[in-house]
């Protein structure tokens, strides 16, 4: 990157030696002062305190959540440039490209068989502030034409796009309101590993920590639009979210358990971010597989992803 030309002149060695000793002494003193300040600050806090919107106040829970947040690179020190600032949640937008199989819900030839399988190209763009997701899938079944869908959700709004960004400028595609699908689509955002950590933090004292077979399990309710949905997340030995279980809010599928397993965590971005993402995602509903994908790339670098709501979707929601 561009730098400034060095204008430092080199004075006498002896002067610099004295200056070096003075500078080193000053910096050592400053470091001790800063260390003391940090130590005082730490003493004034409960060990492992987490300050989210409503922070969990159980030390073990707080430590577990912090460990989970650090394990995937969500909690990062914000003191860029030498400032004495805390760790903060740095995840907002992400983009995922994956390939694998989806299964048609409730379409087996026999009850005991898996549901109909489709080879699937999976592309998701998502944001947590505000909560939004655009899921583009191309599903292919033998002998049939590929099915291409773009499903979008932003908070209470949901719509399907005929092309990316449809319905925002004249002559560029169609946006079809699908408001009833909003909660189902939004749920996909909060059962991703980062969504789980954010939602568990936001649930505050309602988040409970337990242990099953020696591994940590977080249980918490979602809120707002997704009130009534309870999430159970199992962490692995590396404190990464390994399994997430929820009940679908779909009234036609009441109490149908959804299980999502995440594995093969690594930094899957083209630009390294130290954010770990799962390389393999498997989802089951009611015990049947519905999604099994391998991640090709996961851009966690807060890329430019926006989700403006088309006017016709806003109008549909207002009625």
């Amino acid at each position: 990157m561009p730098t400034r030309a060095n204008m430092t002149k080199v004075p006498a060695t002896r002067v610099l030696m004295i200056a070096a000793l003075a500078a080193l002494a000053f910096q050592t003193a400053a470091a001790q002062s800063n260390y003391a300040k940090a130590n005082d600050s730490a003493k004034n806090k409960t060990a492992g305190t987490v300050d989210a919107a409503a922070g969990p106040n159980t030390p073990d829970l707080a430590k577990t959540l912090q460990a989970a947040a650090e394990a995937v690179g969500l909690a990062r020190w914000s003191g860029v440039g030498g400032q004495r600032l805390p760790e903060v949640d740095v995840i907002n937008t992400m983009e995922i490209w994956a390939t694998g199989t989806t299964y048609g819900l409730g379409q087996p030839y026999k009850p005991s068989e898996p549901w109909a399988a489709f080879k699937t190209e999976f592309h998701a763009a998502l944001a947590y502030n505000p909560p939004a997701m655009r899921l583009e899938m191309t599903c292919t079944n033998a002998g049939a034409a590929p099915q291409h869908t773009i499903q979008v959700v932003r908070e209470k709004y949901a719509w399907d796009e005929s092309e990316i960004g449809a319905g925002l400028v004249p002559g560029k595609g169609t946006a079809t309101p699908t408001l009833a699908a909003a909660n189902h689509r939004l749920l996909q955002l909060w059962i991703l590993p980062y969504g789980v950590i954010k939602a568990a933090l936001a649930a505050g004292d309602k988040t409970k920590l337990s242990t099953e077979n020696g591994t940590a399990v977080l249980t918490f309710p979602l809120s707002g639009q997704l009130a009534g949905v309870t999430v159970k997340a199992t962490l692995d030995a590396n404190n990464e979210v390994a399994k997430v279980e929820t009940r679908s809010e779909n009234t036609a599928l009441t109490d149908l358990l959804t299980e999502t397993e995440y594995s093969d965590y690594a930094d899957h971005g083209e630009i390294a971010t130290d954010v770990k993402s799962p390389g393999h995602i498997v989802r089951k509903q009611g015990g049947h597989p519905v999604l099994d994908i391998q991640v090709k790339m996961w851009d966690a670098n807060n890329p430019y992803l926006v989700f403006p709501v088309p006017e016709n979707v806003k109008k549909a929601a207002a009625h």
Binding site: S41, K45, A53, V169
Partner: protein, 316 residues
Amino acid sequence: MTRHARYSTILVTAALLCLLPGAVFAQNNGGPRMDHENTLPPTPSGPTPRTPDGHPDLTGLWNGLADNLLGVPNQMHNVGIEVGPDSTRDINSGLQIATWPLQNRQRQNNEQNERAATLLRRMGSNRPIYKPQYWQRVKDFDANSNEEDPSNQCMPAGVPRVGVPSYIAQTPTYLIFIYPGQGGLIATQTSYRMIPTDGRKHTDLEQLDGTWNGEAIGHWEGDTMVVDTIGFNSTSWFDQLGGYFHSENMHVVERLHRDGNTLTWTATVEDPDVLLEPWTTTPRVALLNPEPKAILPESLPCSERDLAHVVTKEHH
């Protein structure tokens, strides 16, 4: 080389390394230190001076935060995130962001720092909304900013990317804004703007040759100075990060409001060619340099030497 000579060499090197940051900050003539414990905007204090014609007097050296040579308010704040010791907030959406207070943790190495910084500087929710046909272009520009960012080629920042002026001189009929060249987040040349406030109108856009800073005209709306600028080239980006390109039809309206020893600056960008809607920066609050004898340092020339050696897309 004798043992004494070797020790001397080591100490001289240590001296240069230790003195370099001090030399940089010393150029702010005693301004506040950089190691903030929060990125909250400064709290105004003192009276707001007025000129004989009754308007607030914006004259002053507005680099009191001393985050860099420009004195731009903390770069985290630029992207709309306020970090306090115990809490963090997205200014645009109001969202409270999970925060883990600093404890006696081992600091990250430079590589980890840069990667965290990359995320931090892009996490704010206040993003311009481009027309869909340009979404991929913005993403590509940002992902490839090492090569694509004009500031990495030592080009001027342009308006409004240049941000809050480091120095303002105010007369009854014009304002002078000075922006010293800086390194750091974006590296730019020193630039200045002479902004008439005598009631004149803009030149027809068709008659203007597009420039980095455009044609600016100022007027007062109450106690707020409004600077209206047109006539840009299409080469600059309009915010610190993000690959936010624009067309020659960009229209920028800056608002500067003095409250005691603070100056709040925002810029609204209108560009119907590429944006779906106007976009306004998160307010940036500059602090008057508390040293009455402070002067702007001479900026060193921008010199691009690194691009040929860049081997990844990692950036800042």
